[in-house]
């Protein structure tokens, strides 16, 4: 077996086989213990429910994606700028970073009602909640990147009489990219979850449709269990698309040079 075939086998075939085995196990357990479908639907029932409910799930997914994208973008943008302030000025870092940590300690379940109080039900609150969840990993990682600049490289810039702006542009920002992208990856994983939780806590169907979180509550209250599971399926797909997008960006920006990506023999 060639090495490339073997590696393809382990990247695709092994997880697929595991998934198939788990699905079989799912059917077996459901049959053996005679679990009713309103407690645990069979996999095919979930797919059927997803198809039947598509006129609700699709718009709901779009609403959630919008919330996730906006919250994620805000987290990445604000996080980057804040990290820059923290990374470039030790004084700003000393005065601000502890407060950011405290804010981070605040559970979202407590922040959510506060946002609803301030911003009302709907998208703004959902975006705010997604932002709160995603922004800390971006700030923490990117700040680390701005701070951990190679000392010799910095002295090289001093020898060149570089201005602070040049040092930022040619040294600190590119040097912080891997850290920034790591933070972005974490934020990207959290964003769809944040948007769904936000929708769960602050969503509303008024003036159109609710998001996936709202649909979850709705199906739950109607005991439409297969449809409830279908929302989970949609959430998974959304998460994959999000993480896939961020991973692609990560690869795009780093694959030529960064240790984590370059192929060394």
């Amino acid at each position: 077996m060639s090495p490339s075939l073997r590696s393809r086998l382990s990247t695709y075939l092994l997880p697929a086989a595991t998934a198939a085995a788990l699905i079989v196990l799912w059917y077996v357990l459901k049959a053996v213990f005679q679990v009713p479908s309103f407690v645990l639907p069979a996999p095919h029932e979930i797919l059927v429910a997803a198809w039947e409910e598509r006129s609700f799930l699709w718009p709901a997914a779009l609403v959630t994606v919008r919330g996730a994208l906006l919250g994620f973008s805000a987290a990445v943008g604000v996080g980057f700028l804040l990290a820059m302030a923290l990374g470039f000025s030790p004084r700003v870092k000393a005065s601000l970073y502890p407060l950011i940590l405290v804010l981070q300690m605040m559970p979202v379940t407590i922040l959510a009602p506060i946002f609803v109080l301030w911003l009302g039900q709907g998208l703004p609150s959902i975006v705010a909640i997604t932002f709160m969840i995603g922004f800390f990993p971006v700030v923490a990682n990117t700040t680390m990147g701005f701070i951990s600049v190679d000392r010799n490289l910095r002295e090289l810039f001093v020898m060149c009489n570089a201005t602070r702006a040049q040092e930022a542009r040619y040294l600190r920002i590119p040097g912080a990219m891997p850290y920034f992208l790591t933070g972005m990856k974490i934020a990207g994983t959290l964003a769809p979850i944040g948007a769904i939780v936000g929708d769960f806590l602050a969503g509303s169907a008024q003036g159109g449709v609710g998001g996936i979180g709202y649909m979850t509550i709705s199906y739950f209250s109607q005991l439409k269990t297969p449809a409830l599971f279908a929302t989970g399926l949609v959430a998974c797909v959304m998460g994959f698309v999000f993480v896939g997008g961020v991973n692609w960006l990560h690869w795009r920006l780093l694959h030529l040079w960064h240790d984590s990506m370059v192929k060394k023999e």
Binding site: D150, N152, L153, E155, L156, F157, V158, M159, C160, N161, A162, Q166, Y170, L171, P174, G175, M177, L256, W257, H258, D259, V262, K264
Partner: protein, 253 residues
């Protein structure tokens, strides 16, 4: 040649914060065109001395002047080659070499031309588009030297540039460095812990003692430039090697 020294060091003392004296009572005058090596046990302050001349750290007492001015004001005349090549991993070889010119604000056309010429000088024209991770340690060091040469510095400060390389590569690079110097004349300050390297390259060797770092011997190297690799096998060279090794050993004990 001995009108005014290019670099003058008088009564130099250096300590970091409230720490012990790292360098004490250093006096040295270096004229244009000299190549001075600092040699001494590790931790004796060789790197610190080089960074003081470069103006990257300031003296605790005493005076350093470069071309009559404080080192911080003379940076355009100097360039530093660090112990590890200190390349930017996200920039290609040519982009790394270009950096000092970019920071100086040179025009793109001039930058390209100059970079191409310097890569040729260090024999890396073929590697212009490579990233640092694709190069060997010796090649990375050549890139670092090419980068330093782009600005045609009057003074080149090199901190154990070949310390991490195998002996064969180091000998090659020593020869190349002298060849480069015969064309792009610069005054050299070179830190090394290799006696052979110091004797082969330098016009003068300064031996430093430790705790605190003091000049314990200054050895003139009389061989004229250009120097050929065969110089290393001549009796005169070997005698000077022995003298230098003795001076170094005297410091260690």
């Amino acid at each position: 040649m001995n009108a005014a020294p290019l670099v003058a060091i008088r009564g130099l003392q250096k300590r970091f914060g409230a720490g012990p004296l790292v360098l004490d009572g250093i006096n040295l005058e270096v004229g244009q065109g000299e190549f001075v090596s600092f040699i001494g046990p590790s931790g004796c302050g060789k790197s610190t001395l080089l960074r003081l001349i470069a103006g990257l750290t300031s003296a605790s007492d005493g005076l350093i002047t470069v071309d009559g001015t404080p080192p911080e004001k003379a940076r355009e005349k100097m360039f530093f080659v660090f112990q590890d090549a200190t390349l930017m991993p996200w920039r290609r070889v040519a982009e790394n070499v270009e950096l000092p010119l970019l920071l100086r604000g040179d025009a793109p056309g001039h930058r390209r031309e100059r970079v191409a010429r310097m890569l040729e000088v260090v024999g890396l024209s073929g590697a212009a588009e490579k990233f640092p991770w694709q190069l060997s340690g010796g090649m990375r060091m050549r890139v670092s030297i090419a980068r330093a040469l782009t600005v045609a510095p009057e003074i080149l400060l090199l901190d154990e540039p070949f310390g991490a390389l195998d002996e064969m590569t180091r000998d090659r690079l020593n020869e190349d460095l002298l060849a480069i110097r015969s064309r792009n004349s610069f005054t050299g300050f070179f830190v090394t812990h290799s006696v052979a390297e110091a004797v082969f390259l330098s016009s003068r060797i300064v031996v430093l003692g430790v705790n605190p770092g003091r000049v314990t011997a200054v050895i003139d190297v009389p061989f004229p430039y250009p120097r050929q690799p065969e110089l290393r096998e001549t009796p005169a060279f070997l005698r000077l090697l022995a003298t230098t090794a003795q001076a170094l050993r005297a410091v260690r004990s």
